[in-house]
Symmetry: D2
Subunit: 339 residues, 4 copies
């Protein structure tokens, strides 16, 4: 009954098999391995983007920070939700990689940027040489609150950025879960919705540690490569990143795994609300945020459950519960039984 | 007959087995996995350093750049051999991670810093507010020329740095090969020789992608952790870094693999010199640098051999040949036969 | 009737005289001029801080950003009011000089940090390796809203920072005006109130372009000197910075000039409120913030007045009016007559 | 008999007069003062560059570092003479402002880059993702050895950079002296010789502290403005920078002052060589580098002379003697008499 995070899970069998299969003979280093050429084509197919530049790195923080750094200058502002991973959970990696760009926090319920708030932030930034200039919009889908943006919602926000000629980044650490949740084509959630660069996550959904950065304008490719190397994120034995991603994508495994995770979260949410527990955010993907009477968390943990605490209303305590590809119905039902 | 680099090899069986074994159940993320506690103790034992802080990252560039950044300020100079990896092969990662420290290139034959040159560089740096200040000494063992520093040579250089109160870094991407080549205890090549922080390589000698940073003064530990996270080098599913390192160290596998690699290089060097080929640098570890008559490289490549070109004397062409844990006697003898 | 900013004024006669007097013969460069030794002692006397390290730079942004950079690491947070100059008006200079530290915006009415908001910001920051760590508190006195902190208010906030062992910076671009407004001893507004480093402004109150950075702990002195040089802020003909500051401080000119500026602002505020105009913030120093019916600003400007627009309540328009050492009673009365 | 540096001199009468004249009434801040518009035209005229973007800063280090930062990326190399000010005398300012670009030192006698050495440096840099990429060429005229580049020499070097599409910077801290020494038109030493951006010095030749950055391609203007502000180098009371530069340029004062300084250095060189002293570098502008028998320096200083020590041949001691606009024939003859 481990619901702490999808990254507490192991790697999925198909990914591990790919790693093992990759482990023979010699391969060119630093991304020139044969599998990477295949992975590039697979990811271009996912996004219906035959010209996209595709790179692999080993962590989501690296993917996000490099994607931002390749698109903004140090005197730029990056607009992001106040709860965004790049703002709250990367120990200043965006500031490090961009050499000091500033994240402007934009408000919005349930982890989603409020269009009016974005409009105000955009129009109020960069009005003179005294302030940082408008640089980029960064969205997150699945959001940090477990909700998702539809293609239309994404387009609405990207259009506002585009009016100022800003590029748009999507933090897709849980992109597979967003695809399942929305039922949308990956291209409709990204490229066709005005997104320029995607952090396409693998780690949380069954890989050991691999994320793709997908840049739809290949003019940025060489700069990205240099920044990746300079940040120590170019693997010498790159074949093992390629293999993970190939195993992850082959046969649609990534979507199958995400579908399961979302279903387990939905089962959990349904069970909890049936028992009267309030959800703090709508359950849309593989994370649920709940609040329950004080004392509940301690009781559940004593019985073997694991999850993170979250803020809650007066008199309650909050929790985040994350389902992954490896969450079983037994895990969920066991937790609900405890409850 | 692939002698391009030790990083063209696959992972060794014991490392891959450890990865596979690690792949079940839930584990705490971000370095709190159970295996990491064991790895820390194993590495402390290797260096006879019971208080050392130990961290894992996935690339050598990350290990070096983070180790430097935790010890110098942006207005500092880092003294390193002119051919050092941090100077030549990391696309400016040290400058990035240190926020602009300057590498002062120190001369010396066969990849090893000349003590007199270091003395001149140290005394000539940091004499006023107008120049960068003395910050750190960085050594490399095995060097980029395939030679090794003995404990006494290391101590001699570190003592010069210590006279200015400078910390000393060791880039040990091929540290296992240096241990075998010198026959010295790891502690005698590092901590007891005045080294403060070691990039302890795993990738080139049989891992998929893992390097340890070993900091003998644990007061630097927390800063290092923050810098690692901020650089996107903290793995969420850290268990897979831990597993690699555990498999690498268990039962002395790392030394067994390096002993083999060094022996293969020696066999190659012996065979080539027997046929009249000149070594550009002494053969001491798992890399040899040769020069042969022009046209030889093309002929060898046509027959299936692979290696990197190197500068050479007039009328000759140079090559670097690297043996790894997976190089076989058949590889070597086949190459010699071609020759 | 120019009320745009105190930096639209010329230099005061005593400062210009000092510049002219300094303009003969040879002087050592880079801060080793004779006048700087005198200035250091004068500023130590101002703050009753006989050991303070004192440095001159030419802009307030440089003073602030260097003061911060000498006290925080790149992975640190700087807590400041949401309207602070370092957050809003320096185009990211703090992020540049600190190599990417993050400013955490703290709320509070009338430009002053609310203690409860600071408490929440401090306790909510730096709770794990995933976020930036608590680094420094930066206050501004006179605030951006023209209000002042008393010694007790300053102490209350610095004590909260001190509980986390954080150093405290004071942006004193208008420090002279704060001294006059509070009637407090400069040491009681800074050192004795828990401030570690002060940006002590000269430019706005009658200098051409000089600010002192006063560091009460001289252990930071050498690092500051290096950072100043590295930022291009070490003047070769430093005598002209020293001369300005000497002219500014001699005979208490700086306080005399600030007393006048504050009095002119008070005269303006009194006249405007007598005519029914609302002040948006209390008038405490040399800036007033007003709102008046729409159309007023245009009418005043047509008649020759100059000032900056500010946000205002529905149906109104806002303005900032700044008095300086060179504002005359005639300027004020002329403006009031227009009104 | 002060020959330490041209920055030990005071400001010239015409510059001081301009400062005094500027000191009345109100002026727009931050570069919007009326004088700046005139200065921009004057400098465009100097360089026969009607579209050039022109900015003022207060130090040569700021001018150089900002000029470089606006033209290179952090992963770039800047090619400069091994003795260049940006490499030796700015405490890493170029690395700071460029966020970690690397200066590649190029050899050459008498402070001038050797074309063959530049060719080798250019062709040997940026050959793969593992190293920094070719970014910019930076020349210095007058050089650090007191020599000058002719238009043809400048063109030869810039053409080599241009072959790789690199922009070219000129550190002209003593540009006036170079114009006099070469007799060339300023445009022929810069724009028409392939230079893209000039640090046009004022401070050493009679100003208090002002340097212009002249960017021939105005597309870089806005970025430069932002970087200047972000570095704390945008003066609020900018009128005082403008005034200095206007006084400096008006009526050709800048060339008259430099002509005098060069003549004084020539007089000194002639007198010293007549007495058998060896020049270490050709005397071409306002600096001479000599070596004389050991003990001479101490004797001269005891008699009141001032200058910097320099390296010298075995048995000798070296010195640098700098003449400025304020050096008199009596100073020179007095020194020669001592000698």
């Amino acid at each position: 009954m481990i619901f702490t995070s999808d990254n507490a899970s192991a790697a999925s069998p198909e990914v591990m098999a790919a790693i093992v299969n990759a482990n023979s003979g010699y391969q060119s280093s630093y991304g020139a391995d044969a599998a990477m050429a295949r992975v590039t084509e697979m990811i271009r197919d996912v996004f219906a983007a035959p010209d996209a530049a595709v790179y692999l790195v080993s962590t989501g923080t690296a993917a996000n920070a490099l994607a931002l750094a390749a698109h903004v200058q140090p005197y730029h502002a990056i607009f992001a939700h106040a709860a965004a991973h790049i703002e709250m959970d990367e120990c200043g990696a965006p500031e490090f990689f961009t050499n000091g760009a500033k994240i402007i926090r934009v408000a919005g319920d349930h982890g989603k940027i409020d269009p009016a708030a974005l409009d105000a932030a955009l129009s109020g930034t960069g009005t003179s040489v005294h302030g940082v200039q408008r640089g980029m919009l960064s969205l997150t889908n699945v959001t940090e609150a477990g909700t998702v943006y539809s293609p239309a919602e994404t387009t609405a926000l990207s259009t506002m950025a585009r009016a100022y000629k800003l590029p748009v980044h999507l933090d897709g650490a849980r992109f597979a879960n967003a695809v399942i949740a929305t039922g949308a084509h990956p291209a409709d959630l990204t490229r066709r919705a005005g997104v320029d660069v995607v952090s396409f996550g693998g780690t949380k959904n069954g890989c050991l540690g691999v994320e793709a950065v997908v840049i739809f304008d290949p003019a940025k490719a060489w700069e990205f490569e240099l920044r990746r190397k300079r940040a120590g994120h170019l693997f010498s034995k790159h074949r093992y990143l390629s293999a993970q991603m190939e195993g992850y994508l082959s046969g649609g495994a990534w979507l199958m795994r995400a579908r399961h995770a979302n279903a387990m979260a939905a089962r959990l949410a349904a069970g909890l609300t049936a028992q009267g527990t309030t959800l703090q955010h709508p359950n849309e993907a593989n994370m649920i945020f709940v609040q329950w009477p004080k004392g509940t968390s301690q009781r559940l943990r004593a019985a073997g459950a694991a999850f993170y605490d979250m803020p809650a209303s007066e008199g309650f305590e909050g929790a985040r519960l994350v389902a992954s590809w490896s969450t079983t119905e037994a895990d969920v039902d066991g937790f609900l039984a405890l409850f």
